[in-house]
């Protein structure tokens, strides 16, 4: 059953089209949004999170229209968790105090029940020992987990996460994956990320966005299969593919383009498929990160 439906959704910022008439529906499970910077990922997430309204198109979250009335909007927000891409944390608040504040905004009015719920989400993100620490004294990864904890309050049915793994180390990312996959049995989780390995590890479904339009919508294995027979390993550097780089074994990995001489076929990954799908734009972003 679809918990979120977007039909013909368009959003502009001035003269720039951020999202151009997209259709997207998803239910329980983890759906990953992949795309380069400026692809429209954050705009889609903000529309689903009811932070902004589309200029055109219909939105249904949990079967309700957020634009219909304040009552519908409030009902949606009671069952929604949202982690924005950038969330300022008040420097003078403790971890507990911050999440407690957000819990009040989410209408947890009973102090004892609220404290139990705050404690629960702090434990879920593994910050129990930091509950009484001021957020300003936490590391970047810990602050990101504080921000994530507030999104988990009340075990929301729809969880919208914008770049949740930014700033997390590998073990923290593994822990986050565990948390999200447990939640996804009963909730619809929509997340955006630059990390293809997060999508490969977590998402049953992946949606690739570019320039405000959906380029791919399907399972991770289907996306990976689009790169079959288009990835090679060779000994000499080549500029013929969409992207190429030297791997840890010393050989060159070449994605796309004609098959290089003296090359061996390689097992494609999600990253290969993503690079091939978005072509030069994704490759340019890749070189930006490498540089």
């Amino acid at each position: 059953m679809n918990l979120v439906e977007l039909r013909g959704v368009t959003k502009r910022y001035g003269g720039t089209v951020a999202v151009a008439g997209i259709d997207l529906a998803f239910g329980e499970g983890v759906t990953g949004l992949l795309g380069p910077n400026g692809a429209g990922k954050t705009t889609v997430l903000r529309i689903v999170a009811t932070s902004i309204a589309p200029d055109r198109g219909d939105v249904r979250v949990l079967g309700r229209d957020p634009l219909q009335s304040q009552t519908e909007l409030t009902e949606i927000r009671r069952r929604l968790g949202y982690l924005p891409q950038e969330l300022g944390l008040p420097h003078d608040m403790t971890t507990f105090g911050f999440i407690d504040y957000v819990a009040v905004l989410k209408e947890w009015n009973d102090q004892t029940r609220r404290a139990n719920e705050v404690r629960r989400v702090i434990d879920v993100v593994g910050l129990g020992p930091c509950a009484t620490k001021r957020v300003v004294k936490l590391s970047g990864g810990q602050r990101r987990r504080v921000a994530l904890a507030q999104a988990l309050l009340g075990q929301p049915q729809v969880l919208v996460l914008d770049e949740p793994t930014t700033g997390l180390d590998p073990s923290q990312r593994a822990s986050l994956r565990q948390t999200l996959s447990a939640m996804a049995t009963d909730s619809a989780v929509l997340l955006s990320t630059h990390q293809t390995e997060d999508v490969a590890a977590l998402c049953e479904r992946v949606v690739v966005l570019a320039e405000g339009a959906i380029r791919f919508d399907g399972s991770v294995t289907d996306l990976v299969s689009t790169a079959a027979g288009r990835v090679w390993l060779c000994d000499e550097p080549t500029e013929t593919g969409v992207a190429s780089w030297r791997t840890g074994t010393g050989r060159q990995r070449v994605v796309g383009g004609p098959r290089p001489s003296n090359s061996d076929p390689a097992e494609p990954t999600l990253e290969d498929a993503y690079l091939l799908m978005l072509g030069d734009r994704a490759a340019a972003e890749l070189s930006l990160y490498d540089g």
Binding site: A53, H91, M93, G97, D100, L105, T112
Partner: protein, 274 residues
């Protein structure tokens, strides 16, 4: 290690779990359980897990919950509900925004009134603007780091702003009332400034939905200053807050509320009103 030569019977353990023992028997069984692993092992399956979890959660909540910060405790003592106290005083940026703006502006009004030899207009110029400016500075992305979460919370941005506006009003009300009583002129002036003050809040919110909170605060401040300053030329000093003007403020507030409601619908922009 203590070795027991006797153990509690099944009936006694069941009665203990069900709370049917009197205080003396209960204490005796407890004392035995503390030192007898075998009886503790037989007791465990008799206790319902959810009951145990609930009790443990209660203990954790009491032991591990950090004490509430000083300002939240103070706000609760002042009569605010616990959730409202958390919202208003949870962060230093919020506290300083409304408290400092209230006190500084009122202090200025007092000084201005004394320096100008008891003229009433400085007070009437500043006092009604204080809550409005307090509201303007106590929300918005630049002053409230949690703006992105507030926008998507079920509590609602409008409701939060109204609560903040009332907090600003309540915090400066005693000072403004005392100042009003100390100033020359009729005693009702001490309360009359509340009329424009209350009306300016929805008017600010309505204008802010078109041009943003800071510009709206500028428009409101400019408009009110013009009214007060122009009235000083030929009219009595109390003219801006006399009873028939209070009706004008009421009408303005009603119109602003209507604009807010229309704006939310017409623009299709969630939370356009605020």
């Amino acid at each position: 290690m203590t070795t027991h030569t006797w153990h509690t019977g099944a009936d006694l353990l069941e009665a203990y779990v069900a709370g049917r023992l009197d205080a003396l028997e209960g204490a005796s069984v407890e004392q035995h359980l503390m030192t007898c692993p075998e009886c503790r092992g037989r007791l465990t399956p008799l206790v319902e897990a959810p009951l145990l979890d609930h009790a443990w959660a209660g203990i954790r909540a009491a032991v591990e919950r950090p004490p509430q910060p000083f300002f939240i405790r103070m706000a609760r003592r002042a009569g605010l509900s616990e959730p409202t106290a958390v919202l208003l005083t949870g962060s230093a940026s919020l506290r300083t925004a409304w408290l400092s703006s209230s006190l500084v502006a009122l202090g200025f009004a007092f000084i201005a009134a004394r320096v100008s030899d008891g003229l009433l207009w400085p007070f009437l110029l500043v006092a009604p603007l204080v809550p409005v400016l307090g509201v303007a500075v106590s929300y918005g992305p630049s002053t409230d780091p949690l703006e992105t979460l507030i926008v998507t919370s079920p509590y609602g941005r409008t409701r939060l702003i109204l609560v903040r506006a009332l907090a600003v009003l309540a915090s400066c009300l005693p000072f403004a009332a005392v100042l009003g009583l100390m100033l020359p002129g009729p005693l009702w002036v001490a309360a009359a400034w509340l009329g424009p003050a209350l009306a300016m809040i929805p008017v600010l919110l309505a204008i802010a939905s078109f041009i943003g909170p800071r510009a709206a605060a500028g428009v409101i401040s400019g408009g009110w200053s013009a009214v007060v300053l122009l009235s000083t030329r030929r009219l009595p000093a109390t003219w801006p807050v006399e009873p028939d003007r209070q009706l004008v403020f009421l009408a303005l507030a009603a119109a602003a509320c209507a604009v807010l409601a229309l704006r939310s619908r017409v623009t299709r922009q969630i939370g356009a009103a605020l």
